[in-house]
């Protein structure tokens, strides 16, 4: 006898959801037969707001597109503006930007460790990794003046130069975090519970991943090597030596492994950045922000974030304000198209684990 279908509402305030969104699932027994993403709880009209702000004022909104990892959005906006204006960025600033981006990547992954494990009822890991993430936030605080909202990478370079002794502090933090990775492995990847709950769950096939437009670690977890840092290098990524880890499987486990390995690559990149960073200018000053106009035209710049490709498209009518900005975030694809499809046939207990594994950031869906 076919069981009677029930509709469940997960979110928008469910602790397993990574922000203010809801997944409406229709279940028969424990099995999901249909899933619909409901967003709209967090709409702040950022793209529209930018039109009434000048090119510099727009910059303060950017970090709020995705709170756990704000820097790629700042970077892509800055680079789009620089592309359109033809503004040169000093070499040192490019290295500092990469340093920021990789620190942010590590910080976001460590926060994600917490979310992914918590969605499986494993809370210790989150306390460790979020605690360790604080050391990265300390670095941010020292460099930018803010722990979460950095507002640091802006058109023309970065806002301030590295403080004295900062490079050594970064290296010490890297050494510490590298040592901690072994502890993470013991607690998470070697843990039977984690293995059993993630292997073969939330599977995305290679073909579907390409068809749906999946990007970032989720795509690399399907065994497809794709990373903007390699495919379309920006800043100084072409001068740095690192690999892009991939894993066949397409399940939560593979995606987790990819992220875990990327942390090691980030540490590698940061060490190279510190070693190779030239001295000199850190900022090619913009003109008076109240009178700063960009030439007529448009530009798009894309950056590899922890969620995959994010990109900022800007249109200028030659005035002091953007005519239009559009932000492309991976979460839009992952949180709606992908999530709705792969939840079908899964167990209802795995909804938040699957959602976490996609790295969905709801504020990024609703700009």
């Amino acid at each position: 006898m076919r069981e009677k279908a029930t509709t469940l509402y997960i979110g928008p305030q469910h602790p397993g959801i990574t922000g203010n969104m809801m997944v409406k699932v229709k279940v028969e027994g424990d099995t999901i037969v249909k899933a619909r993403t409901e967003v709209g709880y967090l709409h702040r009209a950022f793209e529209k707001l930018q039109e009434s702000r000048n090119w510099l004022q727009s910059f303060t909104l950017l970090c709020r597109f995705c709170v756990p990892e704000p820097d790629p959005v700042e970077e892509s906006y800055a680079r789009a503006v620089e592309l359109l204006e033809g503004r040169e960025v000093p070499e040192r600033a490019k290295y500092i930007r990469v340093l920021m981006l990789e620190l942010a990547r590590m910080g976001a992954y460590m926060l994600w460790f917490g979310g992914q494990n918590a969605s499986l009822g494993l809370y210790t890991m989150g306390q460790w990794s979020v605690g360790d993430r604080n050391y990265i936030l300390d670095l941010f605080e020292e460099l930018t003046g803010g722990r979460i909202y950095h507002m640091y990478i802006w058109p023309g370079g970065v806002r301030r130069d590295l403080p004295e002794g900062f490079a050594d502090k970064v290296l010490r933090t890297m050494d510490y975090l590298e040592k901690r990775l072994k502890d993470y492995d013991d607690l998470m990847f070697e843990n039977t519970i984690f293995q059993k709950r993630t292997q073969g769950v939330g599977v995305i096939s290679k073909e579907k991943a390409v068809e749906w437009g999946v990007v970032g670690p989720v795509l690399r977890g399907c065994g497809i090597k794709s990373d903007i840092r390699i495919d379309d290098p920006y800043e100084v990524y072409d001068k740095l030596d690192f690999i892009v880890p991939t894993h066949e499987g397409g399940d939560i486990w593979s995606r987790a492994l990819v992220r875990r390995q990327e942390i090691r690559q980030s540490i590698r990149i940061i060490r190279q950045v510190i070693e190779k960073m030239p001295s000199g200018e850190y900022y090619n000053r913009i003109p008076n922000p109240f009178k700063w106009t960009l030439p007529k035209g448009d530009a798009y710049a894309r950056t590899e974030s922890v969620r995959g490709e994010v990109g900022m498209y800007i249109v200028s009518d030659g005035s002091t304000h953007p005519r239009r900005t559009h932000f492309r975030g991976a979460a839009y694809v992952h949180g709606i198209t992908l999530l709705e499809n792969i939840l079908v046939g899964e167990n209802v207990a795995d909804v938040s684990a699957i959602m976490n594994s996609l790295g969905v950031c709801p504020p990024e869906i609703e700009r």
Binding site: Q57, N134, G145, G146, Y149, R159, P163, R285, N288, F290
Partner: protein, 595 residues
């Protein structure tokens, strides 16, 4: 995979080793976390350094900053008297306000913790409400990090040695690119508008220039100044003294930008076409104006626009008053002034030249003929030095000298000229004399930095080879046997501070007599009015005190029908104040006659 995985079960238990570790966390409130050296916490504002320009409030897109008046705190001269207040409930600590603060007074601190149930208490006036913040400043702007552009676009000028060869204009003017670049430094705070006697719409026309709309700029400028090109060349520009950018950098070249905009209208016809003034239909009322100086021309222009029949009586052969006869042509070429006056005439203003009131026509006649009278008679006479030998041949008034040169007359000054004084007239006379090949020395009672002359004029004079002797008080002009100037004798002075806080006073040092050779001596220590044209009946009604007409805030004299403006009224005695007087008088006359 087997159901029971030994390794996978034991490995997580290694977490137990963490028990022996010291925690990362601090136990608040026993301990508190010290923020980083660059932390962006609550605001602090150095109230005395702040000028209340409101730039912080303009950049803030959270509407977290408003500019308020603090009870019992009025700020300093030239600032807005307002100070920023932060709504900490709205602030996102982006610190753009810090980056655009021209003075550098606004900064963020390490202080980040505040708890209260009262939402109103989140409104802070930084600096006043948190004086302790001064010791915690963490995020601040320096000249290097500031987003203000502190360096002025240099003005192209003739070389000093080329200048003295002719009366060619020294300042060459900005080209389009230079003007756009200079205009784009403006932050539109409007402190300049406040201090400008005429309250010209400075941020607005600078904005238009920055945006490439020169014609708009010209229209905005003509809104309340009919002699803008003259002001663009020779204004005393108090606006630049209060420019917010000047607190840490070089003031906007407001004067040069106005000059640039007005010069784009090359002729009177083009000016008319661009300004396209709306001239009201004739209303049948008449206004008589005495003196075609800046105040008279201004009143005339705006009255004519309002439909009045305006007639000016001018004693000299050309209009412009002191700007025509007192300012050397290398600063204000005659063509430039003519262009502006032709434009004013094209609106319908009639000017009777070579008509001296009191001689060619009586004041009473004008008074009876017109519905209202405006007097912009200026200061036609100069103070004499009051020292021995001043009657020598070759001893003259600098003001008179400039008048004669500008009228095209020849003046014999010899080859060694001494100019006494430190104002613009002294510098002008000195630089003109240099152009006739004389060796020129300026003798001034105080120090160079005390000179009331425009600093650019002083620099210009020095570049042209004018020698300045500061702290010298003339006591005698020596004559030769023919009664000509032979030398000037002066005493050196020491500067004694004023106990009341004013300018230090020069006090002669006994026995320090010095004599320098000279072929002529020019006195430039100030001018005064000549009111002999007023008949007795008017002199009683139109009150004169300390050499100036007494007027109310509408420029109205003791006789309600008679208005006055310009040097004969205001103490600042510059062209822009005269224009302001003329503009105010125009409004008052219009108000009176349209009743």
């Amino acid at each position: 995979m087997s159901f029971f995985d030994l390794n996978g079960t034991l490995k997580p238990l290694t977490a137990l080793k963490q028990f022996g570790k010291t925690p990362h966390t601090i136990s608040y409130p026993k301990e508190s976390k010290e923020a980083a050296d660059r932390y962006r916490g609550f605001h602090y504002n150095d109230l005395d350094e702040c000028i209340g320009c409101g730039n912080c409030s303009t950049i803030c897109q959270n509407a977290a900053i408003d500019m308020i008046h603090i009870d019992g705190y009025d700020g300093k001269k030239g600032d807005s008297g307002l100070r920023p207040r932060i709504d900490n409930g709205r602030c996102c600590w982006c610190a753009l306000c810090v980056e655009v603060c021209p003075t550098g007074s606004l900064s963020l601190t390490k202080d980040y913790l505040y708890v209260s149930e009262d939402p109103d208490s989140f409104l802070w006036t930084p600096g006043k409400d948190n004086p302790e913040g001064e010791k915690q400043i963490s995020f601040f702007s320096t000249e290097e990090t500031s987003l203000n552009v502190f360096n002025r676009v240099p003005m192209p000028e003739l070389e000093g040695k080329d200048r003295v060869k002719s009366f060619a204009e020294v300042v060459l003017g900005y080209n389009e690119a230079e003007a756009r670049a200079e205009a784009s430094r403006c932050i539109s705070c409007g402190l300049c508008t406040e201090v400008c006697p005429e309250h010209m719409h400075i941020p607005e026309y600078i904005n238009a220039i920055a945006a490439g709309n020169d014609a708009d700029a010209v229209r905005i400028i003509y809104d309340n100044n009919p002699l803008p090109e003259m002001c663009g060349k020779v204004c005393t520009r108090r606006c630049e003294d209060v420019c917010a950018i000047a607190t840490r950098g070089e003031a906007l070249a407001i004067r040069w930008l106005k000059r640039y905009a007005t010069e784009t209208a090359a002729t009177a016809d083009i000016t008319r076409e661009i300004v396209n003034p709306e001239i009201k239909e004739a209303n049948g009322k008449t206004v008589g104006i005495i003196g075609a100086g800046p105040s008279g021309l201004t009143a005339a222009y705006y009255l004519a626009l309002r439909g009045y029949d305006v007639t000016i009586y001018e004693a000299s052969a050309k209009a412009g008053g002191a700007t025509m006869y007192g300012i050397p042509k290398y600063r204000l070429p005659i063509e430039s002034l003519d262009k502006q006056i032709d434009y004013i005439k094209s609106i319908g203003v009639k000017i009777n030249f070579n008509t001296k009131v009191g001689k060619d026509i009586s004041f009473k006649e004008i008074y009876d003929k017109f519905d209202a009278v405006f007097m912009g008679v200026g200061f036609p006479d100069a103070w004499s030095l009051g020292i021995d030998g001043e009657d020598a041949k070759g001893s003259m008034q600098a003001f008179r000298y400039l008048y004669m040169i500008n009228s095209g007359d020849k003046v014999d000054i010899g080859d060694k000229v001494i100019v006494v004084g430190g104002g613009n007239v002294a510098i002008d006379a000195a630089r003109v004399a240099r152009r006739f090949g004389a060796e020129v020395t300026i003798l001034y009672r105080r120090r160079v930095q005390d000179m009331p002359a425009d600093w650019e004029e002083i620099e210009g004079a020095e570049a042209e080879g004018v020698h300045i002797i500061p702290q010298g008080i003339p006591i005698k002009v020596h004559k030769d046997e023919k009664g000509r100037v032979k030398a000037i004798e002066y005493l050196k002075a020491k500067m004694v501070p004023d106990p009341k806080g004013g300018r230090p006073k020069p006090v002669a040092i006994e026995g320090s007599n010095t004599i320098i050779e000279a072929t002529s001596v020019m006195a430039a220590i100030g001018q005064m009015g000549d009111y002999s044209f007023l008949e007795k009946e008017f002199e009683d009604k139109i009150k004169i005190e300390r050499g100036r007409f007494i007027v109310n805030e509408k420029q109205q004299t003791g006789d309600p029908k008679v208005f006055a403006g310009g040097d004969a009224v205001n103490r600042t005695a510059d062209a822009i104040s005269a224009i302001a007087d003329g503009f105010r008088a125009c409004k008052a006359i219009d108000e009176m006659l349209s009743k």
